[in-house]
């Protein structure tokens, strides 16, 4: 049927053609789709969606496949819709400060196109060289600058997409307000379960005149955490605020030569941006607050090259983990910042329990942890141990008042911990949202929200947030 709707070069169905689409950035989960569609036009997207709707065939949309939670893993009985050919920046409007782009445009390409006007697109996930705007919309991606400049949800004005019925909807607007419910907000981070995005209107902001990074050493991770709290308490919102523990700096330093203090238990990277005077003022304030908080060494980037070098280690933490170990498993829990010391101590104990090493990099400004668990998939039982290690970290995050995923999404990976974070009634509400957009449930089915049956199977009645909030309510 799809062969009648699309030109032959828009369909892949041979085994060797399907292979590259088996998984996304989380290679441990794989499936082969029935076929891959690579449409070029919005009409073709709608035609594919309509055909899937008519035949009741599951449909999974995919961008660059850099996601880390298996959100773009194909459905074995479904169609994989790649938006790779939707790679055009349709318009950059320097006066309105917007960029209208197709979903397959790479994140960094937007800022490159906006640069001649002194503008840029703020969200900057570490994968920004490769990841696409459509994928960013699906995951509500963050980055290292989101405490000050927001997540994808704060930087998207409008999304145009195709519903499962094959109809085009526009959510949000180039104006700041839209009537009715905020369907744009719920679409952002919906992991491809609500609609297939065909066009996105992004907000661009002026590029700060200059930026400097303060690199700070601490002899204790808990004290580094207190340093973060002290910065916020002093009324400073740094443009970026990252932390790495000793294992992480030791892993990246030989690789990138960023000049990290390898004797420190933890280092903080705090970026200040703005006018030259403003940055000078803020950097001085940061130095004084952090010295007070017990920093053992402080250095400030003296040039743009040095600033980028300080960041390079953090941005390359994942590849560095890949050099240290055949495989690594990246977690994404978020916690209230005050719980940082407790979580890092608990992770240390888990390293012994599971016999695996873990590097900790951390978006300290917004409490988003990225523990990287090192393992070797070729060794019997190591992947299973790594997975259990990860799940234990996530459940700890929930107990401390946090969440199982800050920015990577639930995908297929975190379905079980979702049973811990949300009650049956809350999960039913998520399915209600899903059904309102996609009544037959064909868009990326089986992802993001666990079914009641799955949670029952996941086992023992989990206690949410350390207590049952309403013991009188039915639990099943």
């Amino acid at each position: 049927m799809l062969a009648e709707l699309l030109p032959t070069d828009c369909l892949l169905s041979r085994e060797e053609e399907l292979k590259p689409y088996e998984c996304d950035g989380l290679a441990a989960y794989r499936a082969q789709p029935l076929l891959v569609a690579l449409p070029r036009t919005e009409e073709q997207v709608c035609a594919v969606v309509r055909a899937c709707h008519a035949l009741r065939v599951p449909l999974v949309a995919r961008g660059a496949g850099t996601g880390l939670s298996g959100g773009a893993m194909p459905h074995a009985a479904g169609v994989l819709l790649s938006l790779a050919r939707f790679d055009r920046i349709l318009e950059v409007d320097p006066i309105a400060r917007t960029a209208r782009v197709q979903p397959g445009v790479r994140n960094l390409a937007v800022s490159e196109a906006a640069a001649p006007f002194g503008l840029y697109y703020a969200p900057d996930p570490s994968s920004q060289l490769a990841c696409t705007i459509g994928g960013n919309v699906a995951e509500n991606s963050g980055g290292v600058h989101c405490l000050k400049y927001g997540l994808t949800v704060h930087n998207v004005l409008k999304v145009r997409g195709c519903t499962i019925e094959g109809e085009i909807v526009e959510l949000g607007s180039a104006a700041l307000d839209s009537p009715g419910l905020d369907l744009l907000a719920i679409t952002l981070g919906s992991e491809g379960l609500l609609l297939v995005v065909t066009e996105v209107l992004l907000k661009l902001i002026p590029k700060p005149e200059c930026a400097q990074v303060v690199m700070v050493s601490f002899d204790d991770v808990g004290r580094a955490g207190d340093g973060v709290a002290a910065i916020i308490a002093a009324g400073i919102i740094p443009a970026g605020l990252e932390m790495m523990d000793r294992q992480a700096t030791a892993a990246v330093e030989p690789f990138v030569k960023a000049g990290y203090d390898l004797t420190a238990e933890a280092i903080l990277l705090a970026e200040s941006d703005g006018t030259p005077d403003e940055v000078a003022e803020e950097v001085a304030a940061l130095e004084s607050v952090l010295r007070e908080a017990g920093a053992t060494a402080i250095s400030v980037s003296r040039s743009e090259a040095e600033r980028l070098r300080f960041w390079s280690g953090r941005k390359n933490a994942f590849p560095a983990a890949g050099r240290l170990s055949p495989d690594y498993y990246c977690m994404d829990g978020t916690i209230p910042r005050k719980a940082l010391g407790a979580v890092l101590r608990a992770i240390e104990a888990m390293e012994k329990k599971y016999g695996l090493k873990c590097l900790n990099v951390f978006h300290a400004g917004d409490g988003n942890l990225h523990p990287l668990i090192l393992f070797d998939a070729n060794r019997e039982g190591e992947w299973q141990r790594a997975e259990r290690f990860g799940i234990e970290i996530l459940e700890l995050c929930v107990r401390l008042g946090g969440t199982v995923t800050g920015e990577h999404g639930v995908g297929v990976e975190k379905l079980n911990p979702m049973c811990v974070q949300f009650s049956p009634a809350e999960r039913a509400a998520f399915f209600a949202v899903k059904a309102a957009f996609d009544p037959p449930g064909l868009l990326n089915p089986g992802k993001a929200i666990p079914t009641l049956a799955r949670c029952a199977e996941y086992g023992r009645e989990h206690i949410r947030r350390g207590e049952l909030p309403h013991p009188e309510l039915p639990r099943f």
Binding site: V153, D177, A185, I237, E278, I335, G406
Partner: protein, 353 residues
């Protein structure tokens, strides 16, 4: 507070069972807002109090009935504030009402909207269940973002029992500049300035005069003032000027029988609409005291790529800008699933829902 919550749950369960519509109400400062109010009042003002606030976490959690003034006083004590500057319209709203209405003040174009600061919300479901969405952390993509969907929902999906909001440090320096400009020149300037790295936090134009507020680090505010020129307002007078605008005590809002709120892309040239206008949000919000027919106002807003809300005047069922059929269909299915018998704020946000 457990007792108050128990009573609210019982009232909702009974209304659902008996299919009796409820009109959710906090302080009642926005009774005028929406298509129409129907049903027996369900008073949410009694479920109040700040639940959790730690300044260094930048998060405040409060029950829905907590007065906005109480929250703002507490935050100010720690040199923090709600950066979307929620408007108080003729009284002291509750925080639940602030989030349910989803209205933002003068800082909207530069700092973000109410929904941008919503981190989590607790919803009272139609069966009396207490549902937690989002959380108390800055980044959270577990499950659909229902807490942001509730912001601006005007209660049609159920009562918001509790909200967690991101709070921000107060700017250390604030100055307001005044420029004599035509509307066209002000729109041009607002858009030009917004494209430069300047610490602008609000802008407005009224009757030949543009006001521009700069907020942030003292060095940045000083540098911007030097670059922009204009006349600097005295601090107390400036603060009062923005407070008046935020709470709609400005002349335009006085006794205008028909007041329109047009939301358009900021770079839209002056609209060909007869009436008196006040411009906010760098050009993205245009208030019009106009007696022109609704069809004409909406046509002008739509042509500019925006929408028009009949803020004051107009008739029930025709105040909000109509939704596209495909978008309305999603609204209808959401409402059917969250509130199958239509007991929550029937007809308040969308006629028929």
């Amino acid at each position: 507070m457990e007792t108050v919550l128990g009573e609210l749950r019982a009232a909702v369960m009974e209304a659902h069972r008996e299919r009796k519509p409820l009109c959710l109400r906090g302080a009642g400062t926005k009774d005028f807002y929406g298509e129409s109010r129907e049903g027996a009042p369900l008073d949410l003002a009694g479920y109040r109090g700040v639940v959790e606030y730690e300044p260094s976490e930048l998060v405040l959690t409060a029950r829905c009935g907590t007065p906005l003034s109480e929250i703002e006083t507490l935050l100010a004590h720690h040199q923090q504030f709600l950066a979307f500057e929620p408007p108080s319209l003729g009284g002291d709203p509750t925080i639940g009402g602030v989030v349910a209405a989803g209205l933002s003040g003068p800082r909207r174009a530069h700092s973000g909207a109410a929904r941008d600061f919503v981190l989590g919300a607790v919803l009272l479901g139609v069966d009396g269940e207490v549902l937690h969405f989002g959380g108390k952390v800055m980044k959270n993509v577990a499950g659909f973002d229902v807490s942001r969907l509730l912001c601006g929902s005007l209660g049609i999906l159920g009562p918001i029992l509790e909200v967690s909001l991101k709070v921000m440090p107060l700017p250390r320096e604030e100055q307001t500049l005044r420029f004599e400009l035509t509307a066209a020149a002000a729109l041009d300037a607002f858009n030009r300035w917004a494209g430069q790295p300047l610490p602008i936090s609000a802008s407005a134009w009224w009757s030949g005069v543009a006001h521009l507020r700069l907020s942030g680090a003292p060095a940045a505010v000083r540098a911007a003032r030097g670059r922009l020129g204009g006349e600097t307002l005295e601090a107390a007078a400036a603060a009062e000027w923005w407070r008046e605008l935020r709470s709609q005590r400005h002349t335009l809002f006085g006794d205008t029988p028909s007041l329109w709120r047009l939301s358009v892309p900021s770079s839209t040239a002056p609209l060909a609409l007869e009436g008196t206008q006040l411009i906010e949000w760098g050009g993205a919000l245009r208030w019009y005291a106009s007696e022109r027919p609704a069809s004409e106002v909406r046509r002008i807003a739509t042509a500019a790529g925006g929408t028009a809300l009949h803020w004051r005047g107009g008739t029930a069922g025709s105040r909000f800008h109509p939704l596209a059929a495909s978008v309305l269909a999603i609204h209808r299915r959401l409402k059917e699933r969250f509130d199958p018998h239509g007991i929550f704020n029937h007809n308040r946000l969308v006629a028929g829902l």
